[in-house]
Symmetry: none
Subunit: 200 residues, 4 copies
């Protein structure tokens, strides 16, 4: 059996268990059982429980980043890019529901119990958005007074909060495509009725 097999089996099992119970309530023996290996085997592939979580961050976010970047490269228009990003992000919940749950939850926790860990992969991911915004500003498509540092967080936060909802109650009233369209739409043109005079 190839090393990578066990490694992957454990990662996938951990995603399942972390999603079900959360990192702290998950027991190593749960993960081992889910992965159909012995408890000790896990320590042949990971240093400790935290290491499993970090590996999930690194490896799985890494894959997602690749996919998203590839999809965005197909587009020219920053406006389209944002919608593509939104659609991709929201699709995660459907396609990799448990992974989405883990990333959701532990992203907020990780800094508490792993003081030293800087989630560079996550930063890389969010920076895809600021790159799009920057490009839109260069093309004069986006307002120059928009702060990319704030806007990227706003856009990501909007998507993330939708994901959170869907992860909690997996019964979406709207489709992913609709929601992605709606969110990128609000982000692009706002909620204000165009016929209304701009506020002071």
């Amino acid at each position: 059996m190839r090393t990578s097999d066990k490694h992957q089996k454990i990662i996938q099992a951990a995603i399942k268990v972390f999603a079900r119970k959360g990192f702290f309530s998950a027991r190593i023996s749960d993960i081992a059982k889910e992965a159909r290996v012995a408890d000790g085997t896990i320590y042949l592939y990971f240093n400790n429980k935290y290491d499993i979580l970090i590996s999930i961050f690194e490896e799985e976010i890494g894959k997602i980043i690749l996919q998203v970047k590839l999809a965005i490269e197909q587009e020219d228009d920053p406006r389209q890019m944002l919608e593509v990003f939104a659609r991709h992000h929201l699709s995660l919940v459907e396609e990799k529901r448990e992974l989405a749950e883990v990333l959701q939850m532990e992203l907020r926790q990780s800094n508490k119990f792993m003081k030293e860990y800087r989630n560079t992969k996550f930063i890389e991911y969010v920076d895809i958005i600021s790159a799009i915004i920057h490009k839109g500003q260069e093309m004069k498509l986006f307002r120059a007074d928009v702060l990319p540092g704030v806007a990227k967080r706003a856009f990501f936060g909007a998507l993330d909060e939708m994901s959170r909802l869907w992860v909690l109650s997996p019964d979406p009233t709207y489709t992913i495509a609709e929601t992605a369209k709606q969110i990128s739409d609000i982000f692009l043109v706002g909620v204000i009725n165009k016929n209304t005079p701009a506020r002071a």
Copy 2:
């Protein structure tokens, strides 16, 4: 000494400790020490560790909701209301930093270890936003095709993500007022340059 005194002392101590260590890594004895009471005393006021966290949610969010609702009542214009909400929300990080941290983190966790707990207070809080949006739509100020259920999440998520950042690295480049303005601005009129033709 009134009963509520100890209760409050413990709540405030728990907020501090949960913020510092996270819920799971926090020990009851840490909270007891911080509150200057005996470990056992905590169990005179709370059923268990989870109960403390839930009480924080219920009581502290309750206070915030009251404040925000009061502030919003001063305004007539839904556009202003959104900015006021944003400013209020972001101010939390500055004024009650530790509480903000706890709400941030544990909001994502709580459903994992307290399956039965539905965070109604939180729902009530976010619904303030949908009420504003609804009002804006009634006044024909906001687009009718905006889905309030999505928009409220988008707006809240944007603010929440900014809070997350500030909570992590307490060195903000922009002031709360600026950021609140920027986020509500994006939400209201979008990032698109008005001189640019709307996309197809």
Copy 3:
């Protein structure tokens, strides 16, 4: 119940268990059971398993040193002092058999697993011998060419080895008094027949 009670109960239980199984094979739960306390209680009084062993060294050797010094002070003649020391040392095996076993065994081990621990109490104990030898040399009773640093080890080693035997097989052919006399005798006048010419 006084704090010192539990502390002492655990120390005495640990001596019993360490003597029976050795430090490494002894389980915390064995000690707890022997002391009739819960496993966790041990950690209220000691930091960890090593800490128990070190406490045994420090506290119990401390008591012994006091006793020996007191007994030796009664004597004027360094030759008598050595015999008193020998009798005291060997009595340990009879009176505190399990303690003797632990000191015996773990003295050799301790430096392996507690690199940083310098057994100052033990050094203090052995230095009682060199003080006696020194005194004997000052009084011209003992040969000047005897190296106190070597002689104290020789004397202690002789006693220690006898203890080891008795600890192993608790059926002594000779009494403590006889053996103490014999060992201090050999140490004082040697094994050589006085009628025999000294060797070259």
Copy 4:
């Protein structure tokens, strides 16, 4: 490669590792790595971890016994024999430092974790001393009132304690020859100044 090669490689590796870490803290994988064999290979040559230790006792002490006996056979005078024994014993620390450490330490432990194991080789070794004493007494060189069973322990203990010191702090103030001479000297003629009247 002959079978005995691997056997010897493992024994020698085990001596190194046991000396460095002690028996209990030593891992089989440490020994395997030191011996440059696979973990499993060790179990082709030894039944278990204890078996390695016992083999060290048996085989290595066996070699030493042979050497010492050979050296002593060269001498006629029991007084010389004792000094030769002392020199040989102390030389061990210098020549086979790690082996000396293991014998030192684990000799005291072994009976604890291997109840059934009687260290006959060790007994054989110490009995060399009693044979010398016996011979000395037969030759009327040594006092008849010296108990060989006590004297052999006293002599061995003195040497052993010196070894213990040297093993711990490898910076000897005195040479092996000096120390061997001093110890056998004390053992033979005692520490008492001959010009002093014998004690009562």
